[in-house]
Symmetry: C2
Subunit: 181 residues, 2 copies
């Protein structure tokens, strides 16, 4: 919008992304929506997330996993030996509901990557543990996954990466996302 009105030859116009076009359309159709900066920022975060998720998927697929399944295996792995947590703890570490976690565990159990056993001290509770094949798989997958993430971000200068990570941390803190468990 405003780029086209910039004095010629003074500065290279900043490159535009899909969100610039989207907000330009809104500005034209609904000029009464006078502040679209929030919409633009949120739109960029959502689009970036969606694109990044799509670029990660092939690595999981190559290891026979869904994104959601890797999420559970990785949480158990990160927790350290004996790689065992309860479904409740997995719900807290994830961003999904308890029903979704049950569903993930059912599938992982069928594949033999985790096992459920009763909690000795609390008969309501269950303990979910990585099996030996599950541990092997997640250890191999995370390696490829991290390498893939680095490859994906290689196109963005390290300075931008630091800047983004720090500003996003402040956003997450503002949104209350300060605890993993």
């Amino acid at each position: 919008m405003n780029d086209s009105a910039a004095p010629p030859g003074v500065e290279a116009p900043a490159e535009t992304d899909a969100v610039d076009q989207l907000t330009a359309q809104w500005a034209r159709e609904r000029p009464d929506l006078d502040d679209l900066t929030a919409m633009a920022l949120i739109g960029r975060i959502n689009r970036a997330s969606s694109l990044l998720l799509k670029r990660m998927k092939p690595v999981f697929t190559a290891h026979g996993l869904e994104n959601a399944e890797f999420d559970v295996l990785a949480t158990l792995r990160r927790a350290g030996a004996p790689h065992e947590l309860t479904p409740s703890e997995l719900v807290l570490s994830s961003m999904v509901t308890s029903g979704a976690v049950t569903n993930r565990l059912d599938r992982l159990e069928r594949k033999g990557l985790v096992e459920r056993r009763p909690d000795p001290g609390d008969r309501r509770a269950v303990r979910v543990r990585l099996t030996s094949p599950g541990l092997d798989l997640v250890d191999r997958t995370v390696m490829a996954h991290v390498a893939n993430e680095e490859r994906i971000l290689a196109a963005l200068p390290a300075a931008d990466q630091r800047l983004l990570s720090d500003a996003l941390r402040r956003l997450l803190v503002a949104l209350g996302d300060t605890r993993l468990g």
Copy 2:
């Protein structure tokens, strides 16, 4: 991790978010994964997106819409009169597959918010148009939606918002997200 080793009294330690804890766990369990900065940045973008989406949902629900449904209505509205596009164009503007768009259109049509009619010039094609109730609804919803987005981001200083938006634009350009249609 490194915050705890900072010289005392020199600077307030930066506040930590869930991703800092997550990467700290990986660093402890898998010290061989030596560069976790890409994982941290991508993790922050994904968590932020998930949290923001959850905070938007109530506005759509209050207007009787799903997030995905609003997405279609908004795309038609932004396109300008006569608020008509083909399913193919909607697929390009969205971040989902053609099957998902068909599904969205089926539901919106059942609700009477859009209508499908054959394209006069191409018998393979369909033209999807906002109905009058659809136009009313999206015009009301987008107003509440934008106000909600501003409320959600109010906790983040304007300087951070600009910084983030600009850096994310560079990321999106690097990821090839330069065209909306």
